[in-house]
Every structure is written in structure tokens, then in C-alpha cells.
């Protein structure tokens, strides 16, 4: 047992470092220091801790190491700058605004999906608010007929934001609600229809099929719809986020990511792994609980924040 005790002691002291160390910004570690193997390892560690993923982190570290060997950089600050440039390059300049329907072709439909607890409803409130602020008329469709009080949750938001909700029976077919909502959106000539769906784990194929059905139902009425399919991903998500994105993209042709809960201490690096594998753009970031707490995704700032304290 003596052996056990000593190893446990070591683990605890190792973790004490974790507990105290996680708040230290990589910038302070790197700043003003000559580049060394150790600094590069710290850089890799910072990337892994941002959930970028170990493979990408190692690749990026190697790139920087190569730059160092070529003599292009020789200190920590330059290494960090180089890293930030590389990361920002994952998100080249592109149109990150919402895709809208052609003028005169009826309402724009935005389908919002994601796993349980990702923050779909709150994110919808945010999108809704910013569209309302632009003077657009918005209708909400409450397609989460499964979770207790999900419809009520959306209704509270609709009341606060002054928009209407189309809803169905608790436990009813969400595709039927999507149908009704689309009909209503066409009849009322609203600019935008946002469909809220039930949270579902990407591993449950029948629920993913259901999502595909919602999409088909909408498409039948408006051939170009849904114009935008937003996948909400929680910034605290680890490497599983890639699986989520892959499965949702497969069943509903996701057009963009809403990265929620970026106001915590999580860095949201998973979107880089997602970008690398699936080429999905991040369109918005959620940074708080109120409907105003939404920002368009800006790669430079996002990467900057990734390495701040």
C-alpha cells in the first residue's frame, strides 16, 4: 500500500498545479521569452486546453517549430502571433450573415437544432431580437413538442420580444408544427420564420430522422427553405462536438454554427476542429443570457480571446 499512497500524493500535487495554473494566460507565459522546446510545449498545451483537439494542436505546434528552425521567429510573442494568424486562417473572409430568401419568394426560414442543453431557445431569442431590431417581422415555430415546458419557455421569450408563436400539442408530431408554422408564415407574410426544435443527441438515429422530416416538410412548401440551418454548439463542448456537427450536418444540411455560452471560461476551440473536418462556418457567438448578448463571429477576436486569461 505504501506505493499507492506515494503515487496518490503525487497526483494530488500535480493537480494542485492544475487548479492554480489554469487561469494563467498563455500570453504571460510566452511574452518576452526566447523560444524553446518548453515554450512550444506550453503553446501546444494552451491549444489543447482550448479544446482545439490534440491532432490539430500538434500540427500547429510543428508548423511553428518549423518556422523557428527556419529562423523566421525566435521569441514567444512572435510564436503566438504566428499561431493566431494560423488559427484565424481557418476562417477566411466569407459571408457570415444569415442567408435570406430571394425578395418576393416568401418568408425566410431558419431551422435551429442542437443537442439537449446546447442553448437553442436562448439563441433563438437572440436572433429574433436582432432581426426585430432590424425592423423585420418574425414568427416562431415551437417544434419541441417533447420536453416538458419547452413551448412555454419559447412563449415567455415571444412575449418579451413581441413576436407570435405557432405551437402544437405536447407530444405531437414536430413536423406537423413545422408545417403549420410555415403555412402561417406564408399566410401572414412575415419576413422570417424561426423553428425551434427539441434537443436531441446526435446518436439517436430516429430523432435525427425526425429532424430530416421537419426539413422535408418545410422544403415542400417553400422550395428554397430552410434557408438557414443553424446548429447550436455549447462552447464548453469537448471533442464530441465534431461528432455532433457531423451527424447534424448529415441529416439536415447545417449551414452555420451558433457557438453558445462563450461568456464562461471555455474557449470554444472545438469550432476549429469542426471547421477543419466539415468546413462549417461559425455565424454567431452567444455571450450571455439576455437577448442582446449575441455577436457576429469575428475570427480575429475569437482567436485573440482563446489565449487570454
Amino acid at each position: 500500500m505504501g506505493l499507492f499512497r506515494s503515487t496518490v500524493g503525487k497526483l494530488v500535487s500535480g493537480l494542485r498545479k492544475t487548479r492554480e495554473g489554469t487561469g494563467v494566460a498563455i500570453t504571460t507565459i510566452l511574452s518576452g521569452k526566447p523560444l524553446s522546446k518548453q515554450l512550444l510545449r506550453d503553446l501546444e498545451k494552451a491549444m489543447i486546453q482550448a479544446d482545439i483537439g490534440i491532432k490539430t494542436a500538434i500540427e500547429l505546434r510543428k508548423d511553428i517549430e518549423a518556422g523557428w528552425e527556419r529562423g523566421e521567429i525566435d521569441n514567444g510573442d512572435q510564436a503566438l502571433e504566428m499561431l493566431k494568424e494560423q488559427l484565424a486562417a481557418y476562417f477566411p473572409a466569407e459571408d457570415r450573415s444569415l442567408r435570406m430568401a430571394e425578395p418576393g419568394s416568401g418568408p425566410t426560414v431558419i431551422l435551429v437544432c442542437g443537442i439537449n442543453g446546447a442553448g437553442k431557445t436562448t439563441s433563438i431569442a437572440k436572433i429574433c431580437k436582432s432581426l426585430r431590431d432590424e425592423g423585420k417581422s418574425v414568427l416562431l415555430g415551437a417544434c419541441d413538442t417533447f420536453r416538458a415546458a419547452a413551448v412555454e419557455q419559447l412563449e415567455v421569450w415571444s412575449g418579451r420580444l413581441g413576436v407570435e408563436v405557432v405551437k402544437g400539442q405536447q407530444g405531437g408530431d414536430p413536423a406537423a408544427v413545422a408545417f403549420d408554422a410555415t403555412q402561417a408564415a406564408i399566410a401572414r407574410k412575415v419576413d422570417i420564420l424561426i423553428l425551434d426544435t427539441a434537443g436531441r443527441l446526435h446518436t439517436q438515429s430516429h430523432l435525427m430522422d425526425q429532424l430530416a422530416k421537419i426539413r422535408r416538410v418545410v422544403q415542400k412548401q417553400l422550395p428554397d427553405a430552410p434557408h438557414e440551418v443553424l446548429l447550436v454548439i455549447d462552447a464548453t463542448t469537448g471533442q464530441n462536438g465534431v461528432n455532433q456537427a457531423r451527424e447534424f450536418a448529415q441529416s439536415t444540411d447545417v449551414t452555420g454554427i451558433f457557438l453558445s455560452k462563450l461568456d464562461g471560461s471555455a474557449r470554444g476551440g472545438i469550432v476549429i476542429a469542426i471547421r477543419e473536418l466539415l468546413n462549417l462556418p461559425v455565424k454567431f457567438i452567444g455571450v450571455g443570457e439576455t437577448p442582446d448578448d449575441v455577436e457576429p463571429f469575428e475570427p480575429g477576436r475569437f482567436v485573440e480571446a482563446m489565449f487570454e486569461a
Binding site: T7, T18, T121, A149, T236, N240, K261
Partner: protein, 519 residues
């Protein structure tokens, strides 16, 4: 569950387990792979590093390098460390006491919560937004109701729109649907009029919780569960509210609810909640996803607090106590027979099982029995999740397309048979088979395949019924994983069973001979 991590470990350890001699370099290489596997599974960087260091230290000692089967020895060390990491020394001691430590699932169940008498025992749930607190509250209420407790759910989340309503609906639902002994029940306490927009009702929850406790005492409630609002660990105001609830009610159990898909940040949130509230335990939710579940290791390490429960689905009964040895076994691809047996026991009573066993021994199993077994099997979870618990099968199963729909088709075929046909499959001539196929919307071949599969299962049943439970397990374990996978696929797709009816005749004869010998 955790399937991916298992696979990574298997790959890392496979090239070790085959070698008769292990050098320090071999071990280092394998541990590098293990480290990568852990990081890909979202285990925190430092936790993964110290884990590997420790395993290395033990593995490079004389003991392993000169052991008869160094690969096995190595796996044992990794497994022991994993159990310790997940459940602490007690879990490891328990696992070792009951065997050689790496037999999966033999550790005692993780200790459940602390209950006080007289009640109410107060449980406070806390966590980040969207981690699954409210759903977990409902599940726990049902879990306790089953065990005879009178439970009250208190809606202390006055921030998220309709959170109060959600909890109320769940309380009603659980009270209605979950059966419990007389006196057990689930009630609800809430003050919806105090709800306000985000940030405007901070602190109100303290009063609501106090009132709930008063009410709970009046009603003679055994367990009071407080569903607090989701909050960021870096939000001082909201964390302050939790501290005040803590001070006012001194909950007996404070549980942190964490999403099993959480990445590296699990370290920060778990630490912050633990520092401010002195947690008693952790609940890991959404464990039924394909997450590698590294957060479990991280959270346990950084808080030092036990993981009490895991959430495994959206339904109110999808909650299980956390078993470190079982999860470690699963991570190492050694399966989880105990959980499987437990799940089966939930579906089949002992009398039912005995009656069926008797029938099987006499070769009298009917299609109806087969159908009811199939239905019960389905209630235990998806085919993949069930088979994933079987030792050694995880890997073989990975590439098999097991379609739940095929079980539907099998059900349809059986339901298209007449009662007489279900009782005696020998009646099924070609004409009947065609009729059944038509009724089930499939071709006659599918019917024949099912009949073949059924015959094989009933012969196997006869053979197995001669053995005790242990013998049965052994005979299953004796099967290669390919055979297991074939069997698994057979269950979903009767047509692909390997045993032809000729074979089953042979088996029947063998079986008769064996029985004869025994007498």
C-alpha cells in the same frame, strides 16, 4: 457509451498484450498512445499527464518487465489506475477484494447519497446552464420514489423562462408514472410569481428554498430536491446566491451536474463550484451520447468528490448509480456484464425467468416467448448499447450495421402468425410462410430466416439451461468475438445466423447425448 475511449485503449494496449517480453521503450510508446487517447477523450491535460506518469512508474519496475504475462500485468495497472482515478482508493480496494481487480463490474456499487432521519434530507443541484439539472431532478425523484421515499421537488430556478413549469410537469409525470411502495410520492413546490428576467431575480431563490423546506417539514417529506438555476461559475452574483442557499438550508448533499460531453473546461467549472460550495458528489449527464467521457476522470480528480449517478437517456428512468470499476472495465473494452444483468433483471422477474428457463430446457419455447423476450430486450436499450456491454464485443460490433428497424420487422413477422403457428413452428409450410410474409410486408425468405434463427436460439437455450448461470456466462465468454458479433447480428437479422437447421439437428442430438450421460 464510452466506446471510443475503449477502442483507443485497446489499440494502445494491444501491441503490448501480445508480447512476451516488454522493454521500457515498449511501455513508453504504449503510454504515449494512451495519453493521446485520454486527451482525445477530453481528459484534462494535467490529469492525463499525471495518469501516464504514474502508470509508467509502476510499469517500468521489475514487477512488470519480469512478469510472466507483462501485457496483462500492464493492463491491470492501467485498469487499477483508472478505477482509482474514477472512484478513489475505496473503489479500487473494493474491486481487488472481490477478485483480481480487473474483472469488470465486480466492484460494489458506488455509495449512494447520505440520508438523514428524521427528514427531510435536502439535496441541492447545481451546475452550468444546459447541463441537465431539471431533468436530473425529475429522474432522482423517481429513483427515490421507487425506493419508498416521499420526495419534494423545489423550483429554485427563477431565471430561465418556464423552468418552474418544466419542473412541475416533471414532478407530476414522475409521480404518475413511476411506481413506488405505499407512502412514496413526488410533490412539487414553486413560487412562479417570483420569476423574473435574467439577473433580476438573483437572491429570491434563497427565500423560495426556505419556504420549500418549511413546507417539506410540514408535509413529512423524506427528500427535498432543490433545482437551482444554471449559472456560470465565474458569475459572482449567482454563485453568491448558491452560497446563500447553502448557508440558509445547509443541504445534506450538494450535487454538481455536469454534461459528459464537456471538454477541457470541466476543470474550471468543477473547481469553482467545489471551492464555493463544497460539493458532495457529481452527476454526469448525457452519458448515452458517443462522448468518450473524459470529463468523468477530470471532474473526479479536480474535485476529489465521487461521481454518484450517470444520466443515460431522456426518459425519467434513465439514471444509474456510477460504478467506477464497471466504467473502467468498459473503457478498457472489457465489457460490463454486471450492468447488463441488472438491466435484464429490471425487465424480467425471477419467476418469469425461471418459467422461461424451464420451457427452454424442455424445448418448448414458442414464438410468443421469443417475441416477449425480444420486446424486453428492446426495453433494455438499443441493441448497440446492450451488446456494447458484453466483454470483448465492443470492437467487433463497431462496423456492424445493426438496424433497430430489423427488430421491428421480426416483430411484424411473428405478429403475422396465427396462435397455433406461434406455438409450433413446425406447422410453417411454404404456403403458410408466404401468407405470413405477405402479412408482415416482407418476402418469404425473411420468414424462413426468422424460423431458422428461432430454432437455433431454442437449441442454444436447451444447451445452456443445463448449466448454471456461471456456466452460461463462461460459454458466452468462450465464444470468439466474431461469433458473438454473428449472434448479435443474428438477433437483429435472423437471416445471417450461421447455424443451419441441419446444424441445429446435430446440436439437438448432441444435447440428448449429453443429457443421457449426465443421468
Amino acid at each position: 457509451m464510452l466506446g471510443n475511449l475503449s477502442e483507443k485503449f485497446e489499440n494502445a494496449l494491444r501491441h503490448l498484450s501480445g508480447k512476451s517480453e516488454i522493454s521500457e521503450n515498449n511501455v513508453r510508446e504504449a503510454m504515449d498512445d494512451v495519453r493521446t487517447a485520454l486527451l482525445e477523450a477530453d481528459v484534462h491535460y494535467e490529469v492525463a499527464d499525471s495518469f501516464c506518469e504514474q502508470v509508467l512508474e509502476q510499469a517500468t519496475g521489475e514487477k512488470v518487465l519480469k512478469a510472466v504475462e507483462p501485457g496483462q500485468q500492464m493492463i491491470k495497472i492501467v485498469n487499477d489506475e483508472l478505477i482509482r482515478l474514477l472512484g478513489g482508493d475505496e473503489a479500487l480496494a473494493a474491486a481487488n477484494e472481490q477478485g483480481d481487480g480487473y474483472v469488470p463490474g465486480q466492484a460494489s456499487a458506488g455509495s449512494e447519497l447520505l440520508f438523514v432521519s428524521p427528514g427531510p434530507t435536502v439535496i441541492m443541484m447545481c451546475g452550468l446552464q444546459g447541463s441537465g439539472k431539471t431533468t436530473t431532478c425529475g429522474k432522482l425523484a423517481g429513483h427515490f420514489k421507487k425506493r419508498g421515499k416521499k420526495v419534494m421537488l423545489c423550483a429554485a430556478d427563477l431565471q430561465r423562462p418556464a423552468a418552474v413549469t418544466q419542473l412541475q410537469v416533471l414532478a407530476d409525470q414522475v409521480d404518475r408514472e413511476v411506481e413506488g411502495p405505499a407512502g412514496a410520492g413526488v410533490s412539487f413546490y414553486g413560487e412562479p410569481e417570483k420569476c423574473a428576467e435574467y439577473g433580476k431575480a438573483v437572491g429570491v431563490a434563497v427565500e423560495v428554498c426556505k419556504n420549500a423546506l418549511k413546507q417539506a417539514k410540514q408535509d413529512g417529506v423524506d427528500v427535498l430536491i432543490l433545482d437551482t438555476a444554471g449559472r456560470l461559475h465565474i458569475n459572482d452574483d449567482l454563485m453568491g446566491e448558491l452560497r446563500r442557499v447553502n448557508a440558509a438550508l445547509s443541504p445534506h448533499n450538494i450535487l454538481l451536474v455536469i454534461d459528459a460531453m464537456t471538454g477541457q473546461d470541466a476543470v474550471n467549472s468543477a473547481k469553482a463550484f467545489n471551492d464555493q460550495l463544497e460539493l458532495d458528489g457529481v452527476v454526469l449527464t448525457k452519458f448515452d451520447s458517443d462522448t468518450r467521457g473524459g470529463a468523468a476522470l477530470t471532474v473526479r480528480q479536480v474535485t476529489g468528490k465521487p461521481i454518484k449517478y450517470i444520466g443515460t437517456g431522456e426518459h425519467m428512468d434513465a439514471i444509474e448509480p456510477f460504478h467506477p470499476a464497471r466504467i473502467a472495465g468498459r473503457i478498457l473494452g472489457m465489457g460490463d456484464i454486471v450492468s447488463l444483468v441488472e438491466k435484464a433483471q429490471e425487465q424480467v422477474s425471477e419467476e418469469e425467468a425461471a418459467a422461461l428457463q424451464e420451457k427452454m430446457a424442455q424445448g418448448k419455447m414458442t414464438m410468443d416467448d421469443f417475441l416477449s423476450q425480444l420486446k424486453k430486450l428492446r426495453k433494455m436499450g438499443s441493441m448497440k448499447s446492450i451488446l456494447g456491454m458484453m466483454p470483448g464485443i465492443g470492437k467487433a460490433l463497431k462496423d456492424l450495421p445493426i438496424e433497430e428497424k430489423q427488430i421491428d420487422q421480426t416483430e411484424a413477422i411473428i405478429q403475422s402468425m396465427t396462435r397455433a403457428e406461434r406455438n409450433d413452428v413446425d406447422l410453417l409450410d411454404n404456403s403458410r410462410r408466404r401468407r405470413i410474409a405477405k402479412g408482415a410486408g416482407q418476402d418469404a425468405k425473411a420468414v424462413s430466416q426468422l424460423v431458422k434463427g428461432f430454432e437455433m436460439v431454442s437449441v442454444m437455450g436447451q444447451q445452456m439451461s443445463g448449466m448454471g448461470m456461471l456456466g452460461r456466462m463462461k460459454s458466452m465468454a468462450g465464444m470468439g468475438s466474431a461469433e458473438m458479433a454473428a449472434m448479435a447480428q443474428g438477433a437483429a437479422q435472423p437471416g445471417r445466423l450461421k447455424g443451419s437447421s441441419k446444424q441445429s439437428q446435430k446440436n439437438k442430438r448432441k444435447f440428448k447425448q449429453r443429457r443421457g450421460k449426465r443421468r
